[in-house]
């Protein structure tokens, strides 16, 4: 280290701060790690009082479901390569094959292909292959680490969790696209207009951001339930009942999210120099043309970040979806609440854990891929004021 001696930290401080960091990392990741481990075990193991029993799962092994040493080694190597592929090869391929203005669809397609490949390799290819290898190997091929995916298959196929997944998918995709389209226009307008009207719009948006969502839902429910009658004079017999409609929930979530979106996008647009659109205007573009041809190609970092946060809001929402959608037709997060409320046997509980892990797995990938964007989004509003 080239630091002068006076700047160096005393030993005690270094040790204690390293200890604190280690403790924090343990605290931050432990509950998530633990439910992931639980979800793969027999109920007896998952709720065992001895942590080692939960990790190694003797009961699960006793029934012949588990990983042998060879499987673990092969699995770790495969995981390492997946990780390398995700962090180095995937970004390069996406950059190479998608034209610059289509980088977002490129990423989405890339991520989907990657996820599909991951599923094929880890769920379809490796288990039969390793099963065959293990049966040849003898003692080395004996399972030592209990692992069963039966709770996942119970949740996803028997209990039709994929229906909730599709609902979640529809709602999140809808919210992200609509709120970005509307929000980008508004954010750009607000960033480029110095008028005091723009200032007041932002302040009112800030007030709207603070509103509890239940207050708003209390306002939606009666008109949504009666909307067929309310809208009949305008729309005739085609008037829909808004309650229980996914697109009504999309509209609601987009609007609730709008204040946050325009604040964030505005701060990103302010970082794009004004001279850029002025130059385009001098060349004869209208404001819209300038926006379309000059600003849009350079605005993607901000839009991706804001899109991530819109995604999180729609994906994580419990309150709005559970009140405005039918109990039979829920998104994933409210659906899981139904799970753990009816949990009667321990198997039900472990299935609830498996459902919970299924919900957070995509988020885990999301942080892995977009860590930088998330950090820049968190600090965008704060540091620049």
């Amino acid at each position: 280290m080239s630091l002068p001696k006076s700047m160096q930290q005393p030993m005690a401080l270094r040790v204690s701060s390293a200890g604190f960091l280690a403790f924090w990392c343990l605290l931050a990741s432990f509950p998530i790690f633990w439910i992931a481990v639980m979800s793969f075990k027999d109920p007896v193991d998952a709720f065992a009082a001895n942590p080692l029993d939960v990790i190694f799962g003797p009961e699960t092994v006793a029934t012949g479901r588990g990983l042998s040493i060879v499987s673990i080694l092969v699995g770790m190597v495969a995981l390492w390569y997946t990780f390398r592929l995700a962090t180095t090869t995937l970004p390069r391929l996406v950059k190479q094959y998608s034209p610059p203005h289509l980088i977002v669809p490129g990423w989405i397609i890339g991520a989907l292909v990657f996820a599909l490949g991951f599923l094929i390799v880890f769920a379809g290819l490796l288990p039969p292959l390793l099963g065959a290898v293990n049966s040849v190997l003898g003692p080395l091929g004996k399972p030592i680490l209990g692992l069963t995916t039966e709770h996942y298959s119970a949740v996803w196929f028997e209990n039709a969790f994929y229906e909730n997944f599709i609902n979640s998918l529809v709602i999140t995709v809808g919210v992200v696209t609509v709120s970005l389209t509307v929000g980008t226009l508004a954010g750009y307008g607000l960033a480029r207009s110095g008028s005091s009207l723009a200032f007041w719009i932002l302040i009112i948006a800030l007030i709207f951001r603070a509103l509890p969502h239940s207050v708003l839902v209390a306002g939606y429910l009666p008109p949504f339930i009666n909307s067929a009658e309310l809208l009949r004079p305008i729309l005739g017999d085609a008037a829909p009942t808004l309650y229980g409609q996914p697109w009504a929930v999309i509209a609601v979530l987009v609007s609730i999210n709008q204040p946050f979106t325009i604040w964030m996008l505005r701060s990103f647009f302010q970082n794009i120099p004004n001279e850029l659109d002025e130059a385009a205007r001098v060349d004869g573009c209208t404001h819209f043309q300038a926006f379309r041809w000059v600003i849009m190609p350079v605005m993607w970092p901000g839009v991706i970040t804001t899109g991530l946060f819109s995604f999180l809001l729609a994906y994580n929402d419990y309150l709005v979806c559970s009140l405005l959608l039918d109990a039979q037709n829920q998104t994933m997060v409210p659906a899981i609440a139904g799970y753990f409320n009816r949990e009667t046997t321990t198997t039900d509980q472990v299935e609830a854990v498996a459902a919970a892990v299924s919900i957070i797995a995509p988020l885990f990938l999301l942080i892995m891929i977009f860590q930088r964007q998330i950090v820049s989004g968190l600090t965008a509003g704060a540091v620049k004021g």
Partner: protein, 341 residues
Amino acid sequence: MNSKTFAAFVGPSIFLMLLFIAAPLISVFLQSFYLTQPVFETVQVETCTPGFPTQTCVTETKTQPILGDDGKIVTTVKYVGLESYRNVLEPDRAWAALKAFDIGALLTIDFWKALRFTLTFTLVTLPLVIGVGLAIAITVNNATRMIRGPIIFVSLLPFIITPVIGALSIRWLFIGDGIMTAFLEWWLARDISMFAQGWTIELLMMFYRVWHVAPFAFVVFYAGLQTVNQDTLESAMIDGASRWERLRYVVIPHLMPLIVFISLIHLMDSYRVFEEIVGFSSQAYRISLQWLTYDFLTPDDSGNRSISRASASAMLTMIGIVVLLVPLLRKTWRDHKGGKV
């Protein structure tokens, strides 16, 4: 940019916000003064059962909802003034409890119980979030560059994962003989059940909230630490300031605007505490203001939603938001007038 282009850019967003945020607010305000009820009629029903020597007939009066032509229950809307607010606040009982200095009795009323919990929750977690966030930011800033990325990754986990699931994951550690309960029982050598009484659930809920929000504070403070003026730090050091003094007199004043920002966001968000109640299933012991409204809105056993009571409790929740926002708005207004924005 002239006002017409501005309107075209901002229009759709404003329209959505007016339709789905401003209009519901007004309608909630109006709903809280009205009560929608099914219309009941009283009918004389004569039921006869075969008997000896004659039939036994009983005539009784029954109240039943009137069905309209379309087979639905006919409802009326009635102006009830502050009746719904009275139903939520129960001022008579609350006042009697206050006069007798009986806090326990006051807290048997749902609204006051929810208010008590929401305020305690907000005020206890606020300093913890700031403190923990700041501590992590400073230690990460001191750590070697190589491990910063992985630490930020791990730290983001509690912040990004679905709040309900986050709460659940902590609940599963403690539920029944979960490993944390087992560990605590071994450590303290006594029987522990975390979900049998209110205060332990409350502690877990606060722990969850700090765990969930501290990463956000950390990331913001960490970004702020990158912009600390190194020259000032150096001159403080030459003047003989210790590590602690440098932190106290140089770094923290520099981060002050960020601390205010985090506090505001945290106040707004934890005042809306809701997911913890769902995740920890604590409604039997602890409820929050937002959960109270949610509960009124959920259909009860007979399928009715008490919309007017929900509206009244929503409006009462709003008062708290206004109190929170007034200082902020006054400051913004002063800045705006002073031309600082």
